[in-house]
């Protein structure tokens, strides 16, 4: 599992992904942690198959007892099917996940972890002195979906938005935006169902000061590529499956 520190300040952001040992027939996914002095938040913890390499990688940054919070943007298995294992490993943790999906996500196993339902209009996660904003991103692609914005690190974790299907050797940041577009086009056209939802989200996030846009699959966008991505997504017709 590759680990990349993407923000270092009073707290840290680390991106995990490109697991070389994952089975070939499951999609590669990006996981993130936000680490403060005594706490650790795991964003998009990943599927069951990824649990062992992911937990082992996190242990380079935080002890088990300090993994206190988990976040799932939506209910898909590549996002949170490892929950049943985290549930047995963590003794005092909370899962922040969409209220709408609570009954569904609990199928993965959630007995000791406290499920903190996120209302439709979002909320704030407080991790010691760090305040993370939970931004609504409904229908992108899941009907009830959220992103995480850190105004200090200027990172927006965007779940499926900005994702691309790529191999385990792909770089972690977009290097040439124009050529990367083709890796994202079909994914966004097919996975995102609503142009209206897309426009509402773009209007919302254009007001945020973003240095890194961090999706759940594929490469992250940095600096000017963030604006390039928003412009490209704005112009893209989505919902092409029908």
């Amino acid at each position: 599992m590759k680990m990349t520190k993407i923000y270092e300040g009073a707290h840290q952001w680390v991106m995990f992904g490109r697991d070389e040992n994952k089975p070939d027939n499951i999609i590669d996914s990006n996981q993130y942690i936000v680490r403060t002095a005594n706490k650790c938040l795991l964003l998009e913890p990943g599927g069951t198959e990824l649990f062992a390499p992911m937990m082992a990688a996190v242990l380079h940054h935080a002890p088990v007892e300090q993994i206190t919070d988990l976040f799932a943007s939506h209910q898909d298995p590549d996002v949170i099917s490892s929950l049943g294992l985290w549930d047995q490993a963590l003794s005092n943790a909370k899962l922040h996940a969409p209220a709408l999906w609570e009954g569904y996500i609990r199928h993965f196993g959630c007995e000791s972890i406290e499920y903190v339902p996120i209302p439709d209009n979002g909320e704030t996660i407080k991790l010691e002195s760090v305040e993370l904003q939970i931004i609504p991103a409904h229908y992108l692609h899941s009907p009830c979906n959220f992103h995480v914005y850190d105004p200090v690190a200027k990172i927006l974790m965007t779940g499926s938005v900005g994702s691309a299907w790529e191999g385990a050797n792909a770089p972690v940041f977009v290097e040439r935006f124009d050529s990367h577009v083709e890796k994202m086009r079909y994914y966004h056209q097919r996975m995102m169902p609503s142009n209206q939802a897309k426009r509402a989200w773009i209007d919302r996030v254009r007001n945020l000061d973003i240095e890194i846009l961090a999706p759940q699959h594929g490469r992250m966008f940095k600096g000017d590529d963030v604006k390039r991505f928003l412009d490209w997504f704005d112009a893209l017709q989505v919902g092409t499956g029908v």
Partner: protein, 202 residues
């Protein structure tokens, strides 16, 4: 899922299937008892010896139905325990994998406590499963006992039927159906016992 876990799931699931067949047969015995009672009543003095037997048959059928109902509830609990044991074992194995992958990580040692806890819970589940299987086998033995009793009653029924003159054939048919049902119950329960016996407490 390894083959041991698969056979455990199959063994537990097969109990419910075998016992639902036993339930059907026990209900048939109950019906045969009611039928025998009516025939014996019509036969009057010719089937005097048969009349008390019909009550035995009915009682036996009722007790078998009750026993099987209880065992089915127990079998469902055993199934849940099997699912739980599977989850706990899977978690323990993953945690062990984490420990191997985390060698050299700054906080690798912090995984030791979750591993120890997972191991304890997994072993508790395994012990509980063996205890429950032993208990279930005891309940199945009680059903076997009823099946054996039904066969003795069937044999007595045949003797009494032979004294019943023109009712001989009808009462012999009752005896036959009780005997057949007893055999079926015996065979089905025996299959349950064989499937479970490898998991019992030694």
């Amino acid at each position: 899922m390894n083959s041991q876990t698969k056979s455990q799931f199959i063994a537990v699931a097969s109990i419910t299937s075998e016992l639902s067949a036993v339930m059907v047969v026990a209900k048939e015995i109950s019906l045969a008892a009611a039928n025998a009672k009516a025939i014996a009543f019509r036969a009057g003095d010719k089937a005097k010896g048969f009349q008390p037997i019909t009550d035995f048959i009915n009682e036996l059928a009722k007790e078998t139905i009750e026993l099987v109902t209880n065992i089915n509830v127990y079998a469902l609990l055993l199934y849940r325990l099997t699912v739980n044991e599977y989850r706990r074992t899977a978690a323990y194995n993953r945690f062990e994998q984490v420990a191997k992958l985390a060698v050299g990580a700054e906080y690798a040692d912090s995984m030791q406590e979750p591993i120890a806890q997972a191991k304890t819970i997994m072993q508790d589940c395994q012990r509980q499963f063996k205890r429950d299987v032993t208990q279930l086998l005891g309940q199945l033995e009680a059903v076997m006992h009823h099946a054996r009793a039904a066969r003795v009653i069937a044999a007595n029924s045949r003797i009494e039927a032979s004294q019943a003159g023109e009712y001989l054939q009808s009462l012999q048919a009752v005896a036959e159906s009780v005997d057949k049902a007893a055999h079926t119950i015996h065979d089905n329960v025996q299959r349950c016992r064989i499937a479970l016996s490898i998991y019992r407490n030694s």
